[in-house]
């Protein structure tokens, strides 16, 4: 992890097919607005503060391009990420069936990172349920299979956005507590662990 990235307590990365609402979710989270943005090429960076129980944290958010062409390029954005939000559009079956492409990316992320599967555009369902192409159960099942958390949200109305953010924060805090314990344990076996860690790093690069 580079020095500047270390300033951020958690690196969050958004993944998902084109036009499922990644940038919209980021805008909702960071600015509280809803608009229809131009498509993302490459990846864009933003940050948001999270008020924990004891202290305030800053999370960095990387919003990636959804198209396959950017897959190989955006894989390096996944490095060191501690939280992956994988999005699909509940009114677009395709965005759901393509999800495995993004779960495959988790190999580039941190080992202890957590994944949240998110169905977007819930507001469209409220008008007519006809539009729903992926049922709540299917979403839950998928999340269960992939050992991840699950939400259905609407960036337009703000539905479940706060809950999502709280969950991200909670999971982060739990994770860091675990890490602390682990870290202490690690220190006891300092020599062995540091050796294996170094080896791992070499293999990665």
């Amino acid at each position: 992890m580079n020095e500047e990235e270390e300033k951020y307590d958690l690196k969050i990365i958004l993944l998902g097919s084109s036009k499922v609402g990644k940038t919209t979710l980021v805008n909702r989270l960071t600015q509280g607005t809803f608009e229809n943005p131009e498509q993302t090429t490459g990846a864009t960076f933003s940050k948001k503060k999270y008020q924990g129980e004891l202290q305030e944290y800053t999370f960095s958010i990387w919003d990636t391009a959804g198209e396959e062409r950017f897959d190989s390029l955006s894989s390096f954005y996944c490095r060191n990420s501690g939280c992956e939000l994988i999005l699909y559009d509940i009114t677009d079956r395709n965005s759901f069936t393509n999800l495995d492409r993004f779960f495959d990316k988790l190999q580039y992320t941190n080992e202890d990172s957590f994944v949240i599967l998110i169905g977007t555009k819930l507001d469209l369902i409220e008008e007519t349920s006809k539009l729903r192409k992926v049922t709540l159960e299917e979403g839950k099942k998928k999340a269960n299979d992939k050992n991840s958390y699950f939400f259905e949200i609407s960036s337009k109305t703000g539905h479940n956005i706060q809950e999502l953010w709280e969950t991200v924060g909670d999971l982060f805090e739990k994770n860091s507590q675990k890490n602390e314990i682990k870290h202490r344990q690690d220190n006891n076996h300092f020599q062995i662990n540091s050796f294996t860690n170094n080896q791992k790093k070499k293999n990665c690069c």
Partner: protein, 546 residues
């Protein structure tokens, strides 16, 4: 003689000769761009991409041929067609449904049938992604807006240079366009229908239209294809009263005072836009009639839209608060505001045009097909040619933009090709080139960015691959592209320009931290004009040439 006038004359001199001296033209364009007021830009871009031959006497023929070719592409490959936001959404939903059901059926099939089926799914997916991307291209620009809902079917605007306004033929044409709605019928059936209609059309048209062509041309210039025939007649009546020459004078004279709700202003359209239409009382009566007619025809249509516009404005206002710099009024756009043509634009469907440019390009170039971002590259061409009143070419903006876009893509398709990413022409290598220029030119800034560990990919990849088209407002993009296109070793100057961008904001970047710097680079400040940035890039460019 003013400096501007002098410059326009220099362009005039080159363009007036029968055989165009492309080298001098490139030089002249490269340093300083094409003056907006000259109206030469669209010709020059067409020349730079070899869409127009250098021999002037071949122009008319070439244009006719190529526009014809484009119509044939459209017939052969099918088009994306919708007339309103509602129809667009319906089409999207329909495509989604068909893709789903086709996929479900796919498993039952085998062999030849299966591959054909797969191809069809791929084609539908292509259409869908293009529509989805095009609808979010330059959303704040009225040029790319379409009506929310269309009560009647709009006859497709007469694109084919060979087909006149003959009502009989228009009917067949309309049928044809209707039948071309791709997803309603199977592809084979469509082919049969198209073949039938093309045969009919070509036979009929050959004899009838050639004589009429010339007469109709004048009408077509001012012809406003309305939804409502009544309105069309009204407006036509007024237009007929005025000779086309006079009308042109009026258009030119009043460009500045008339602001159409659909006109291309960079400011968000104000809710009081109808007020803007209220004209100067000093205008003469002809003008009055003309504009009033258009006004009424617009008024009816805008009532629905006003509500939507208002909602939009709210959003835009919010956006403005955030990006005060992004939305700035730029005077030179005023040239595009043209009451007659704008009333036409209002009904013209540039969104569909953009879809079809991309769709046909993707179908003809299977290696690359469509990649996100191409929409941003095609849009300025369509915008420029769609506002090309001086040469009355705006009717054929779609075809013209298609060929220029194709020729441009021929030179930069490696930006979009994943398989060459790791080679020396791949996008990552180009990012490196820009980074090296920055390193040599402004080592302090480079060092700073480097110490922050901001990788050049984070910002310049987007700038290079999309030729800065997402970075600035449309007029600025067009001005920058003048110099990029007229570059003797095309797109070498692009690297210097991209390197100049961070340097232009070095005072802001140097004291900033990781987040601030990356935010600045990814949301580039809009307070410098295109000319200032290009000037800076020239200085760097010239240093490196020595």
């Amino acid at each position: 003689m003013s400096r501007l006038q002098k410059r326009v004359n220099e362009f005039k001199q080159i363009l007036d000769s029968n055989s165009i001296d492309i080298d001098s033209l490139k030089k002249l364009t490269f340093y300083g761009g094409v003056p907006d007021s000259s109206g030469y830009r669209s010709i020059i871009w067409k020349l730079l991409f070899s869409y127009l031959p250098l021999e002037k006497n071949l122009w008319i023929e070439t244009l006719q041929q190529k526009r014809q070719v484009f119509e044939e592409f459209k017939k052969d490959l099918g088009v994306i067609q919708f007339n309103s936001v509602k129809e667009k959404d319906d089409l999207k939903r329909q495509l989604e449904q068909e893709i789903d059901s086709s996929k479900a059926n796919l498993e039952k099939l085998q062999g030849q049938e299966k591959t054909e089926f797969e191809l069809e799914i791929k084609d539908k997916e292509l259409r869908l992604i293009i529509i989805k991307d095009v609808e979010r291209t330059r959303q704040t620009m009225s040029f790319f807006h379409i009506e929310e809902d269309s009560p009647t079917i709009i006859p497709k605007r007469n694109n084919n240079p060979q087909i006149s306004n003959n009502p009989k033929i228009n009917k067949t044409q309309e049928k044809q366009t209707l039948n071309q709605i791709p997803s309603l019928i199977s592809r084979e059936r469509a082919k049969q229908l198209i073949q039938r209609f093309t045969k009919k059309n070509s036979n009929k048209n050959k004899n009838k239209n050639q004589n009429q062509n010339q007469n109709d041309k004048n009408k077509e210039i001012l012809n406003i294809s309305t939804i409502d025939n009544e309105k069309k007649e009204k407006v036509n009546q007024v237009i007929n009263e005025i000779s086309s020459k006079k009308a042109r004078k009026i258009r030119k004279g009043y460009q500045k005072e008339i602001s159409h709700p659909r006109s291309q202003t960079l400011k968000p359209v104000k809710s009081s836009k109808m007020k803007q239409l209220n004209l100067n009382p000093r205008q003469n009566s002809e003008r009055n009639i003309l504009v009033k007619e258009i006004q009424t025809s617009i008024k009816k249509n805008t009532q629905k839209e006003q509500k939507i516009e208002k909602q939009k404005n709210k959003k835009v206002k919010n956006k403005n608060k955030k990006n005060k710099n992004k939305e700035k009024p730029i005077g030179r756009v005023i040239r595009y505001e043209n009451p007659v043509a704008k009333a036409k634009d209002y009904r013209e469907n540039r969104l569909v045009d953009l879809c079809n440019i991309l769709y046909i390009y993707a179908r003809l170039n299977n290696g690359i097909r469509y990649v996100q971002g191409m929409n941003s590259i095609a849009a300025p061409f369509l915008f420029l040619f769609g506002n090309d009143f001086e040469n009355n070419n705006y009717e054929f903006a779609e075809a013209d933009a298609f060929f220029c876009f194709t020729n441009l893509m021929g030179e930069i398709n490696h930006h979009f090709c994943e398989s060459v990413d790791d080679t020396e022409v791949g996008i990552l290598a180009l990012v490196e080139v820009v980074d090296n220029i920055l390193k040599i030119e402004d080592s302090e800034l480079w060092q700073h960015l480097n110490s922050l560990q901001i990788l050049p990919q984070f910002y310049s990849m987007n700038w290079i691959s999309l030729l800065c088209s997402q970075l600035f407002q449309m007029p600025d993009v067009i001005r920058i592209w003048d110099s990029l296109f007229a570059d003797e070793n095309r797109f070498e100057f692009l690297f210097y320009f991209c390197a100049a961008l961070p340097i232009s904001i070095r005072d802001l970047l140097l004291p900033s931290d990781y987040f601030q710097a990356i935010t600045l680079l990814q949301n580039f400040p809009q307070d410098k004009t295109a000319d200032e940035l290009i000037f800076l890039a020239f200085n760097i460019f010239q240093k490196f040439q020595k």
